[in-house]
């Protein structure tokens, strides 16, 4: 399959959106574009599995390499493995759902849908890039729309939130850029597959790894650079929150894994204690901070910090199982948090409040939305049958395999967060979904067809991973093996 289609389709959709007229036409264009994209992603999965089934063991499939800017050895080099396919599928699902929940976005609808589609293009490009410069280029494409989406269509203290988000993510990008330059000047290539074959000197790795890892880490809400997350998510319009938490934060996790850890494994090993420390703090600190929140969006945003800590923890532990867990957690968290934001958005658009104390008994008047909320909550607190359980347990099992005593302690502390998670999820659910209903809410209506469709899509993803986790481990397993070849070599070298 030609991977460039994954970039081309959003690009064409974006152009078509600009040419469209009126909300109805624009949203139809965006929706069809996103469906085509979902179809492409599904097809990609199909041909990938077929090719793997036929015994193709190449680390990257469907590669395409063309010179882009020869003097600097910048190539347009794309290719996918199981991990990037998982991320692409995640992105395409969230895009469809995000467009569905924005169905009645009256305000500047053309610009709104244009930015959403543009953001998704950045994400697709990022996940298929095998050239560091191209990868960075797409990362930037995915950042700018967020600033505008929050700044223009946001709510609350939106200017401040948008500014904070843009500044922090730009700082992250700058750090990433320094890291990439460091790699480039030592290997004279931007090609990830080429660099992986070379041995970057340890001193260089030790110097540049923190830049790359922290840079991507800011995207993935690494403590203490996570503060853009709560305000950014809370101020963003629903679809933007979904994209932000579901896709953007995954760019960071993917970058930490594919660029920082994969290309500089020795440094990753040396710094693993810092990574694990920060991840453990994020997990437990995020969980306790969530417990004190009173706004549904803040609850989900803070819980994202805690959940994304598991991604970082899994990467930091550097065992095959823990990295598998990190990838599953990225997919799982993406779907779950998008579902959560979608449900919160639906509640907000009806009740005009997100404060837990002002809500209650919504199960009575809007059973569908309430059930969606409860499912997202149960997934978040790691109930078996949903993806969150599979992801967290894989991270725990993988982390536990790292037999270092202090790392074991970190695993135990992180695992303890499942209790705190249960507390905040059940508090939020108990107050807003259950309990007595407020009188003025008794007349509210349940979800419309587009909202239902969005929720069902995301729930399907969550349940498939939760019920049949072997599907995703079979998809990403061989690719993690490839990563581990590189990482394992580095660890034994030391």
């Amino acid at each position: 399959m030609n991977l460039s289609l994954l970039i081309l389709v959003p690009l064409l959709t974006a152009v078509a959106v600009l040419l469209g007229n009126g909300l109805k036409q624009i949203r139809a264009i965006a929706f069809i574009g996103s469906l085509v994209q979902l179809g492409l992603a599904a097809n990609l999965l199909y041909v990938f599995l077929q090719s793997k089934g036929a015994g193709n063991t190449a680390p990257m499939l469907f590669e395409y390499n063309a010179s882009w800017f020869a003097p600097l050895h910048i190539n347009y080099h794309v290719g996918v493995d199981g991990i990037s396919i998982a991320m692409i599928l995640l992105t395409s699902l969230i895009v469809v759902a995000g467009i569905l929940v924005s169905w009645s976005m009256e305000k500047l609808s053309k610009e709104y849908f244009f930015l959403l589609v543009l953001l998704s293009m950045g994400a697709y490009g990022f996940f298929i890039s095998l050239d560091l410069f191209t990868l960075f280029f797409f990362l930037e494409i995915a950042v700018i729309p967020k600033f505008l989406l929050i700044g223009i269509w946001g709510s609350g203290n939106k200017t401040n939130s948008a500014m904070k988000l843009a500044l922090m993510l730009m700082a992250g990008s700058a750090l990433v850029f320094v890291g990439l330059m460091g790699i480039f000047y030592n290997t004279h290539t931007f090609d990830i597959m080429e660099i992986a074959k070379m041995q970057i000197p340890l001193q260089v790795q030790l110097f540049f790894f923190p830049f790359a890892f922290l840079g991507f880490g800011i995207f993935a809400a690494l403590f203490p650079f996570h503060t853009w997350v709560p305000d950014g998510h809370a101020s963003a319009p629903t679809a933007a929150s979904m994209f932000l938490a579901g896709i953007s934060m995954k760019l960071g996790g993917y970058g930490c894994l594919r660029v920082a850890t994969y290309l500089m494994p020795e440094a990753a090993h040396s710094y693993s204690w810092i990574i694990i420390l920060l991840a453990t703090i994020a997990i437990i600190y995020g969980a306790f901070a969530t417990m004190m929140q009173t706004d549904l969006k803040y609850i989900n945003a803070y819980s994202s910090i805690s959940h994304c800590g598991f991604v970082i923890l899994g990467i930091g532990m550097l065992t095959k199982t823990s990295i598998n867990g990190a990838v599953i957690q990225m997919v799982s968290h993406g779907l779950m948090t998008a579902l959560f934001f979608a449900a919160i958005g639906m509640i907000y658009s009806r009740t005009h409040t997100r404060m837990v104390a002002q809500l209650g008994g919504l199960l009575k008047v809007m059973p569908f939305i309430a059930t969606t909320f409860v499912i997202a909550g149960l997934c978040s607190l790691g109930l078996p049958g949903f993806s969150g359980f599979v992801a967290e347990m894989t991270v725990f099992m993988g982390s536990w395999q790292n037999a270092d005593g202090m790392y074991r302690l970190a695993t135990i502390i992180s695992a303890a967060s499942i209790v705190v998670t249960a507390v905040y999820i059940l508090r939020a659910t108990g107050k807003s979904i259950m309990g007595p209903i407020h009188q003025e809410h008794e007349v509210l209506l349940d979800a419309t067809w587009n909202e239902k469709l969005a929720a069902i899509l995301l729930i399907t993803g969550i349940v498939i991973i939760g019920m049949a986790p072997f599907l995703i481990t079979n998809l990403i397993g061989p690719s993690t093996d490839n990563l581990m070849l590189q990482i394992g070599k580095a660890i034994t070298l030391k």
Binding site: N160, K164, L167, W228, K364, L383, P384, G430, M434
Partner: protein, 643 residues
């Protein structure tokens, strides 16, 4: 040996019912949901009894030993070579015994609910949740892999949450559901840690393999796990104790029992199913499932013994003072489970020494029937008087003859009067305790007497005491679907004790010879009769004696009535320590320090940008000024500094 793969249908039927009723119930099966649920469970129960018949009576035994059969197994999630989560079905004496218990009690509850829950707005949802619970419980029982146990363990907890919170508009129901989930979640954290430890040292998560590796004194795994130690205890002790912590949470053992009494907020048939007969014995079942490993570690078994015995005693004391009939039953459940726990704790693996194990399983079996009968009876009473409080009841024996008779049978069974079911199983437990630990025996004996006392206090207060108040009994004693389960369970409460249990379920699969010693039974039975007489004296007719007694006992009575303030301790820790000293400081630090830093740098940036934005004014004149100014400044720099 026959093929047991069809056992898969036993959990699958309720799962299908859950999916169908959960998705389409509200729309299409609003009234027929009950019939669908009951029918599917009837099929599951028939399959279970068929399995039991084949296993116990036809071909389960090879050379006099009941075999452990893995009927199905496939890898669900593979972590690393050798360590994977497998889903499967194990057929052995305890799993088959539990199959019968769960499906038959669940069937009775499904049937009873047809009448009890009639006309509920969310009738279909109720049956969907019941099916979900039954599926999870059956999956737990049939687990081949310790992680499979954990998965279904969590699902059982979630369905319990959904059912306790069924009346979701009631804040007290929501609070109870939350409490049950969070307390058991905390315990499950221990369970998870225990799994990680056992799985790491054992190199597998498969229960059969774990038992194989960790019960031989010479295997490298066993040597590793017993030689590694942390804080003075071996990792085997840690692993098992942590697993037991999970079990103690689900089985409401002290100090993790606080959720059980509150869980009575759920519909009463749910209490009969989940919080009396099935889910709460999951902890006992877990210890029994891993018993060969537990038997290798006396320390963890001692913990099991004392936690069980203390819980049995504590709950019995509290039960004597409660006035809500469901709460009395809840504490009674906790007390009886404590019995099962300590019976396991004092047992050894195999042979005559394994009497405690057999007795524990036997008591689990008989208890399921008479306790669910008690709850359903209480449900019928509550249905009639619309209250849970004893003071609103009294004299109901004429109004509800069937309920009265079945409740009496159940009370006699739990009190341990021969020939009712409880007598036989309790007798075995007392016997096992007598032969291994006299202190435990004493506690058990005293608890047995208290049990009879509070159960008959309950019985007399409901059915005798004063004359029946005027009740609006438009529905009489209830529909046939409510009476039938009471009758069937009454027959069980009389009959199941006669089953030669020890020839079917033992610690090593070999039949055990047991005999009832008349002289031995003399002490417990006479104590029981004295306790019942005392209850009759105090509560059969309305009088001032109970109040006078309560006043006389003063402090102790009040402490027991207030459940020894254990809830208050928990509330203090969460509300006064964790929230203000951990949660709030973290939230504050995040807002003011971590984010404060970012925020102030943003403010500074914004200030700078706004102060210099005037420079980009769009006025050609000022641009020209800056331009030439810049040229002059640069020229000066070049001339004077760089020369």
């Amino acid at each position: 040996m026959s093929n047991y793969a069809y056992v898969l249908w036993i959990p699958l039927l309720p799962l299908l019912t859950f999916v169908v009723l959960g998705i389409f119930g509200r729309k299409y099966f609003k009234t027929s949901a009950g019939i669908i649920g009951t029918a599917s469970l009837l099929a599951a129960a028939i399959l279970s009894f068929n399995t039991a018949y084949h296993y116990f009576l036809v071909d389960g035994k090879v050379n006099g030993v009941f075999q452990k059969i893995i009927a199905l197994q496939y890898t669900w999630l593979s972590f690393s070579p050798g360590v994977s989560v497998d889903m499967g079905i194990v057929i052995d004496p305890i799993s088959v015994m539990m199959l019968m218990v769960v499906t038959s009690v669940s069937l009775m509850v499904h049937l009873f609910s047809l009448g009890y829950m009639k006309g509920e707005e969310r009738f279909a949802t109720y049956y969907a949740f019941l099916s979900l619970f039954t599926f999870s419980m059956l999956g737990l029982i049939l687990s081949v892999n310790i992680f499979q146990v954990y998965i279904f363990w969590e699902l059982v907890g979630a369905s319990s949450f959904l059912l306790i919170g069924y009346y979701f508009s009631k804040p007290s129901a929501v609070a109870a559901a939350k409490k049950a989930f969070i307390v058991t979640r905390f315990a499950d954290l221990g369970f998870l840690m225990g799994i990680l430890i056992l799985g790491f040292y054992g190199g597998t998560l498969d229960i059969g393999l774990l038992i194989q590796k960790l019960t031989s004194n010479t295997s490298p795994e066993f040597i590793n796990i017993t030689s590694a130690s942390f804080l003075g205890a071996s990792m085997l002790t840690w692993g098992l104790t942590l697993v037991f912590m999970g079990g103690a949470g689900k089985s409401a053992m002290f100090p993790l029992h606080i959720w059980l009494p509150d869980a009575m907020e759920g519909p009463t048939p749910v209490s009969a199913l989940i919080h009396a007969a099935t889910m709460v014995v999951a902890g006992v079942y877990l210890v029994a499932r891993l018993f060969p490993i537990f038997s290798m570690d006396p320390t963890s078994l001692t913990i099991v013994t004392y936690v069980g015995a203390f819980s049995a005693f504590l709950a019995a004391v509290i039960a004597c003072t409660q006035t809500d009939i469901k709460r009395v039953l809840a504490y009674s459940t906790m007390s009886q489970i404590g019995y099962m726990m300590f019976a396991l704790g004092i047992s050894k693996q195999g042979g005559e020494e394994g009497l405690g194990y057999m007795a524990s399983m036997f008591h689990l079996f008989t208890h399921a029937f008479f306790k669910s009968l008690l709850f359903l009876g209480a449900g019928a009473v509550i249905h009639m008087v619309h209250s849970n409080e004893m003071k609103d009841m009294g004299g109901l024996r004429k109004l509800m003859p069937i309920t009265h008779l079945s409740f009496l049978i159940a009370c006699l069974a739990i009190a341990g009067i021969p020939p009712f079911a409880g007598f036989f199983s309790k007798e075995e437990i007392l016997m096992a305790a007598f032969h291994s630990n006299k202190i435990i025996y004493g506690v058990a004996l005293f608890t047995a007497a208290m049990t009879s006392f509070y159960m008959f206090r309950l019985y007399f207060s409901i059915f005798w005491s004063k004359e029946a108040a005027h009740h609006d009994h438009h529905h009489g004693e209830g529909t046939w679907s409510m009476k039938l389960p009471l009758v069937i369970l009454s027959i069980c409460a009389v009959g199941v004790g006669m089953i030669p249990f020890s020839s079917f379920v033992t610690s090593d699969g070999v039949a055990l010879e047991t005999h009832t010693d008349l002289m031995f039974s003399l002490a417990p039975v006479s104590l029981t009769i004295i306790a019942i007489s005392l209850a009759a004296y105090l509560y059969k007719t309305q009088n001032q004696k109970p109040d006078q007694l309560a006043t006389a006992w003063g402090g102790i009575y009040k402490a027991a009535y207030k459940k020894f303030y254990i809830d208050e301790v928990y509330l203090f820790i969460t509300k006064k320590i964790i929230f203000p000293f951990i949660g709030q400081p973290i939230a504050w630090v995040d807002k003011n320090i971590v984010d404060g830093f970012v925020q102030s740098s943003a403010t500074v940036t914004a200030k700078i940008s706004s102060s210099i934005k005037g420079l980009q004014s769009g006025k050609i004149q000022s641009y020209t000024l800056y331009f030439f100014g810049g040229i002059i400044a640069l020229s000066l720099l070049f001339i004077y500094i760089w020369k």
